[in-house]
């Protein structure tokens, strides 16, 4: 009985447009095991779980639950089957107590909310599972670890037999993680099965009985804890199995020799930045980027790469240290001043931070350049004719598929939107391009286009600061790669020294 599969996904395929997120993935979880799902960002972990949870429907493949073939068209159906998901970010109502949160949305009696009766039930249930938390305190007063326990109990209260934990340790400190481990073991003893999604190898090894490693939408291996180790998992996570290079979704772009400038274009001197809710900030980071080089920064999301990107164009966020562009300190500059010093930027989240969705392509091209003389008349009026011409140039040179420059940009495809964002960076001459995950979610031909553009920029003598979470991409066209982990610079590799294993290990703090 113990070895029976609780859930099995067979030959799952899922594509978004031309991007294949999951390719023939088979994944199974035994009853009462903690099963790790390990992979980098973008490896397909979340897509796979969203399919199991009913948020996406697969293009191909079958799902079996308790031996029976099932269809899961919506989360409502997965909850009915007994699948519960605890998301990365808390979904509790801060102003409600634990009890109120747990019973929220469940069917009470017809007109009354039997809160006292349910509270006893919840108390009983959490006692049996050995998971303790205060029931009558507003959730906003509780720590991240306790909130997570409440979310777990909420899922179980709704009858979950299978619990999916999406990156459950993101907001936990070490002691809370140990506490979570204990709770999970208790749950398993109580008959619950757990899927543990993570990109942290250490945690996977500590928490899980078995681990399935995903990479670029494919299963790279299924490892038992007793038969595996850190080295094996790093290899599976970051390296191609055999000679799959041609099949992989990365285009081949040549990086010809190129002369570096004598003086660096960008200098960071002991820069520290405060972290946010989801990130650690930066701690004493120093490096230099020269003209004529692509300086790659490898980092797992949340390790300070967001702050690094931000301070290059908005230095006011720097707490300590200095930032120089072309040998001039820009620490007190506003973003537009930085831009007028030959810097431009393409943000990580292109929809949220990169575009004005209802604005036309023309208006979007102007964003960030709107204070430049070329686009102004008498410093007050926008030179719309110049903006129109520039937009037409970008549409032509970057092959943006659109009927006119007046079209609202939200009506373009993701790839075309990114082309506008990249094109916008080059409408004025630049010394430094800062670009953050420019290829994420794009199809291979657009990725190739962006690669070529980065190389072209470098060949023309400009500097490129390329912050990217995909190590495979960085290795292809970076001149140097720096690794950022927990807000600290863990090393800079020259192109000759590139080693996926070494760099991958540093990225995850090994």
């Amino acid at each position: 009985m113990e070895d029976e599969n609780l859930v099995e996904l067979r030959n799952i395929r899922k594509a978004f447009g031309e991007v294949v997120a999951l390719d023939n993935v088979t994944f199974s979880v035994k009853k009462r095991e903690i099963h790790g799902l390990l992979g980098e960002n973008g490896s397909g972990k979340t897509t796979l779980m969203n399919i199991l949870y009913g948020l996406y429907s697969p293009d191909k493949g079958e799902i079996y639950f308790e031996g029976k073939r099932v269809k899961i068209p919506s989360p409502f159906d997965s909850i009915k089957l007994g699948i519960g998901m605890v998301h990365q970010v808390s979904t509790l109502v801060p102003e409600f107590t634990a009890t109120e949160n747990i019973i929220l949305g469940t069917e009470g009696d017809k007109y009354t909310l039997p809160i006292n009766r349910e509270r006893e039930k919840i108390k009983e249930m959490s006692k049996n599972l050995g998971v303790k938390f205060p029931l009558n305190v507003k959730v906003k007063e509780l720590s991240a670890g306790i909130k997570q326990k409440i979310e777990i109990i909420r899922a179980l209260y709704r009858g979950a037999k299978l619990l999916i934990l999406d990156e459950p340790t993101t907001s936990l400190v070490e002691s809370e993680f140990q506490e979570l481990l204990k709770s999970l073991k208790a749950l398993v003893n109580g008959g619950v099965t757990i899927i543990f999604i993570t990109h942290k190898i250490k945690e996977a090894l500590q928490a899980c009985d078995r681990v399935t490693v995903l990479r670029r939408g494919r299963v790279q291996g299924i490892e038992k804890r007793e038969d595996t180790n850190k080295e094996k998992l790093v290899k599976l996570m970051f390296m191609e199995k055999e000679i799959r290079v041609t099949e992989s979704a990365i285009p081949k772009v040549e990086l010809p020799p190129c002369k570096k400038s004598k003086e660096p274009v960008l200098i960071l001197k002991n820069v520290s930045v405060e972290g946010g809710e989801k990130s650690v900030g930066l701690n004493n980071v120093s490096f230099e980027v020269y003209g004529g080089e692509i300086f790659g920064v490898a980092s797992v999301s949340g390790n300070g790469e967001k702050e690094l990107a931000e301070i290059t164009i908005n230095p006011s966020k720097i707490k300590n240290g200095d930032i120089l562009i072309s040998a001039k300190s820009v620490k007190n500059y506003e973003t537009l001043d930085v831009f007028s010093n030959g810097v431009f930027y393409t943000p990580e989240d292109r929809i949220k931070e990169g575009i004005l969705p209802e604005g036309s392509i023309k208006e979007n091209i102007l964003l960030g350049h709107h204070a430049k003389k070329r686009f102004l008349r008498n410093n007050i009026f926008i030179n719309w004719e110049e903006a129109r011409k520039t937009a037409l140039d970008v549409i032509k040179n970057y092959n943006v598929i659109t009927p006119t420059e007046e079209l609202a940009i939200r009506r373009l495809s993701g790839g075309n939107i990114q082309k506008v964002i990249i094109g916008r960076a080059f409408i004025s001459p630049i010394n430094l391009l800062v670009t953050h995950n420019p290829t994420s979610g794009l199809d291979i031909s657009t990725v190739e286009f962006i690669f070529k553009k980065l190389v072209e920029t470098r060949n023309s003598g400009s500097a490129v600061l390329w912050i990217n979470e995909d190590l495979d991409e960085l290795i292809i066209i970076s001149d140097r790669i720096a690794v950022l982990h927990k807000g600290e610079l863990k090393g800079i590799f020259e192109r000759e020294e590139f080693d996926k294993y070494k760099i991958g290990l540093l990225m995850i703090g090994g």
Partner: protein, 353 residues
Amino acid sequence: MEKDVKRTESSTIIRNIFVYLVSVLLALGIMAIVVLLFGFNVSKVLRTLLTSSFRTSFGFQETIKKTIPLIFTTFAFTLPFRIKFFNIGGWGQMLFGATIVTVVGLTISKSGITLPAYIMIPLLIIVGILAGGFFGLIAGSLTAKYNINPIISTIMLNFVGVQFLNFIATNPYFKDPLEGHPITLPLPKSATLGFFGGIPNSIIFAVISIFFVYILIKKTRLGYEINAIGYNLDAAKTYGINFPRIIILTFFIAGALGGLAGTFEVMNIHKKLVEGFASTSGAQYGTFGILTSLIVAGDPIGVPVAAFFMSVLLVGADALQRTMQVPVELVFLSQALIVLFIVIIRQRFERRV
């Protein structure tokens, strides 16, 4: 493909006309039913409501008189609405503009200085702009600095505006001793605007304000920055648009436009400050400015048309009350319904697209 876009553009216009037409017809239909239940003659009521503005020159003049301040208060709401903020303070900004203009005008005349009209009039207009702008500036600064929702600050400032007006109108220094009610002394003649064929001369400034707002929004860097923030605040901030500065400026300009509504009411219509002004015309233009702006969804070119239409209904409502004893509230009901229907139908359309 060029043709496709043209087609969608013209279909947008047709769609808008359709939305307005259906909304107005639905609202008037419901109003007709209510009117019927009250026992009035429906066709006569509707005829009076819609044609009073056009049957006599007096009716038309009255309509324009209402359209002018309404254009200003509508713009006062429209500009911050473009960055997704609600300026509920058009009323207060209007009253504060009116009050300060009166105070300055009377103080000058009482101190014995006689300024010619060509100095007095521009001076008072600037005073009105600054006074209304000051009220807007308070709300904008509170939002920029402390992230206070402007709905709250502007509503509170409305009360300040009302009480300050009462304070001035009852103040012995400004009050007209011959009047039983709290009314100030009249402004000197050099501080007032005249009429041309029954139409207030301040219409010139209303027309200027239409051009001003249109050019501001469509042609200037500030307008571009306002639009960018309205489209996507995160992207605007990422690409260097200074959000605090823009929101303060936007509220200043909005307040200034609201202040002008009051300025011209005092200089062109009343020629003095009347206490009841706060609760009658003041409240009316403040509230209907918001309604009118919602009808056109922030589009500056639509504003004068919608303001005129609203004024037609207001004049019609007055006529109904006078000639048929139909309560004005019935017309307010239909105005509110028109706005509601337009918002609902427009939303339905957008969701489908």
